[in-house]
């Protein structure tokens, strides 16, 4: 439970350090798809790093690449993913298997399909425990009961023998979390852990994850497309678009002062409790398919309300903007309200940049 050294080394030493991660999917007879393109970020113990982006932005592929879960065929992974200085991307299968489940654990998106339907949930927990610890069968079962209790499942002693289909979606996600936490991992990767759940349950599950992370000083990489999820729990936010990081900042900073036009657009499209109820939400025009390759211009330009010729230069660099705030925008947004108005006024004249260039 107490991770010695985690507090001592302080928040400066990242637990997971991803450097220039690159994932390229190649299929015979088709152009390569660069799903993740030079992504770097750090996750620190006791902190939640949110990876935000819409479908196809490469956030899930990033998590799968880090945990070595991408298929071997047709995929090229480059860069580094250093867990306490050891590169997860280059280590052998055996070594990686020793870390997965014990040091690095994942919570998947869909609890309906991510639990084995033919095995009682308790067994799915003890299985991991028996693999990574020396616990006896009985001790592992005791621990499974304890874990189920800890993730808020009522009457865990009974639930431990039940099958996934006997549990509700929220319960199943709690079981998934219990499985992931079984061996007290140092790094927890949650890939859209609430997407498949009811809104009321979403809050509970997020709350649970956040409290467990704080209690055990776990580092968490939270992958989501839902800024609402991010707002409550994370410490730092990395926004991805079309395979690249477009903005990264500490949570408050990002919500108060989004710089990249994509981030500000995302924020403008989310209803706010403290905002004017009559105000219209401002959607981002276009779809994630309307992208140009980063090598020729800003990939968001086709959907951006303020894009102009200056955006059409290749490989835009991340620009530092204040301490621990970086973005990749030529025309960074001012304050969010101004962005909202500018977005409404300009969205009627869509930019004329090419669309769907990579597809």
């Amino acid at each position: 439970m107490n991770r010695p050294g985690a507090a001592a080394t302080g928040a400066t030493e990242p637990l997971l350090s991803v450097r220039d991660l690159e994932v390229v999917f190649s299929a015979r007879g088709r152009a390569d798809v660069r799903a993740v393109d030079g992504v770097s970020f750090d996750v620190r113990a006791g902190q939640v790093m949110a990876l935000v982006g819409e479908s196809g932005s490469g956030k899930s592929v990033t998590s799968l690449a880090v945990t070595g879960l991408l298929p071997a065929r047709g995929v090229r992974v480059g860069g580094q993913a250093l867990l306490r200085g050891r590169d997860l991307l280059t280590m052998g299968r055996r070594e990686l298997d020793g870390l997965r489940g014990s040091e690095v654990a994942m919570v998947f998106q869909d609890p309906m399909t991510s639990l084995n339907p033919v095995i009682p949930v308790g067994l799915q927990i003890t299985e991991v425990l028996r693999r990574h610890t020396d616990l006896s069968r009985a001790a592992a079962k005791e621990r499974a009961v304890e874990l189920l209790g800890r993730v808020g499942i009522p009457d865990p002693r009974r639930r431990v023998g039940e099958y996934p289909h006997q549990l509700s979606g929220g319960m199943r996600q709690r079981v998934m979390i219990a499985v992931a936490l079984a061996c007290d991992p140092a790094l927890l990767i949650a890939d859209e852990p609430t997407t498949a759940l009811d809104v009321t349950i979403q809050a509970q599950v997020i709350e649970l994850l956040a409290s467990l992370v704080r209690e055990q000083n776990t580092a968490m990489l939270l992958i989501t497309h839902d800024l609402g999820v991010v707002a409550g729990v994370c410490d730092e936010v990395t926004v991805m678009y079309s395979g690249r990081v477009v903005e990264r900042a500490e949570r408050r900073e990002l919500f108060a002062r989004p710089r990249h036009r994509y981030t500000s657009g995302l924020l403008a499209s989310v209803p706010r409790l403290d905002g004017d109820r009559g105000a219209r939400l401002v959607p981002i025009p276009g779809t994630p398919r309307d992208v140009v390759p980063w090598s020729t211009a800003c990939a968001f330009a086709p959907r951006c309300p303020v894009a102009d010729d200056a955006c059409a230069s290749g490989d835009l660099a991340l620009v530092a903007d204040g301490p621990a705030h970086v973005h990749r925008c030529v025309h960074p947004a001012g304050d969010p309200t101004a962005t909202a108005t500018s977005a409404t006024s300009t969205s009627t004249t869509p930019p004329t940049t090419t669309t769907g260039a990579t597809s």
Partner: protein
């Protein structure tokens, strides 16, 4: 018969799903694992056994339970289950039903070259051409068919599962190698394969079992491999891998149990085919070594010369073979439909 009938509410009319589901939820709340393990093995009678409502979940998690629920409302499945159960019961209770020793000719049977004594009080179905009680022969024939059918299917299933698991779980060159071997096995007509094995291994019951079982290996192997390949991309397999579980564990406790559905269906169908093949092989004279052994196929051979005068002698075992095979086929087909995700309502 009544024990096999569906629960009263669901016989003729389509039982309302809501009611079923509600009952199922109540079951779950009470913490009773309703019909736990019912789908795995056990007598065919279980398929039709009335039980509490199952938790109704059409999202694919309770494939076996959903299938059972649908089976209970399917008249074809019930007919198949009744026939199969009847056959199994007769085979098991053979000594109680028969009344005579199988294969032992009775003295003073009254058999003449032109006629065989018909039904009488002591012999409800009459005698067979060698002077044995016909009912006794039929009943013990059922036993013989069941034993050979089951053992050969188990042989086929076992080796098929081993090969299929190897191919499906490892892929790559293992897959290629195993599947080529299976292709070769499959290219030989099953009856021809059976005949040649019986010819090589000698004429006895064991070689019949091996012969029929061997012919089934490729069917099971292919089926399991395909099913496993489909499961390999599923979320829980990815989740299991992400937990660092050993490949062996992932295969044995995650991949295999979830891939068995189609194999179970096939096993039921194959049992029916196996019983026909047992009859065919014994008809061809490749059955048990002891000529007195009660076998439906051999009974057909013996009845052949008297087909004109006493057709009943051929009709009786023929009917037994047909009805038994029909039972397994009906049950297997409705199982297939019940387990098919596309056929689900």
């Amino acid at each position: 018969m009544s024990a096999l009938a569906p629960p009263p509410a669901s016989g003729s009319r389509r039982a309302d799903d809501a009611g079923d589901a509600a009952a199922g939820l109540a079951d779950g709340a009470l913490g009773r694992v309703a019909g736990d393990g019912r789908g795995e093995t056990g007598g065919p009678g279980r398929w039709a056994a009335p039980g509490g409502g199952e938790v109704d979940d059409e999202q694919g998690t309770s494939l076996v339970r959903g299938a059972l629920r649908r089976l209970r409302r399917d008249p074809t499945a019930i007919l198949g289950a009744v026939l199969v159960t009847l056959f199994v019961l007769v085979a098991i209770a053979a000594p109680l039903i028969a009344g005579y020793q199988p294969g032992r000719a009775l003295a003073n049977s009254g058999i003449t070259p032109s006629s065989v004594p018909g039904p009488s009080e002591e012999h409800p179905l009459g005698l067979d051409p060698s002077g044995v009680d016909l009912l006794t022969q039929l009943v013990y024939g059922a036993r013989q068919s069941l034993i050979i059918g089951v053992v050969s299917t188990v042989i086929g299933l076992f080796f098929g599962l081993v090969l299929g698991t190897l191919a499906g779980a490892f892929g790559g060159w293992v897959d290629t190698l195993v599947m080529r071997v299976v292709d070769i096995l499959l290219s030989i007509p099953s009856l021809l394969l059976a005949v040649s094995i019986a010819a090589i291994a000698g004429q006895n019951g064991t070689s019949v079992m091996i012969a029929i079982g061997a012919a089934q290996i490729p069917i099971f192997a292919r089926l399991l491999r395909g099913s496993m390949l489909a499961q390999r991309g599923s979320d829980y397999v990815l989740a299991a891998t992400s937990l660092g579980l050993r490949h062996r564990t992932v295969v044995m406790s995650h991949l295999l149990p979830n891939s068995l559905g189609p194999v179970i269906v096939q096993a039921t169908l194959v049992l029916g085919t196996a019983i026909i093949e047992v009859a065919a092989l014994s008809y061809l004279g490749l059955g048990a070594a002891n000529p007195a052994t009660a076998e439906w196929g051999r009974m057909l051979v013996r009845a052949q010369p008297r087909l004109a005068s006493d057709p009943w002698l051929a009709i009786a075992p023929g009917l037994c073979i047909a009805v038994t095979a029909l039972g397994f086929t009906l049950l297997g087909e409705s199982l297939r439909q019940a387990l098919d995700p596309k056929g689900r309502r």
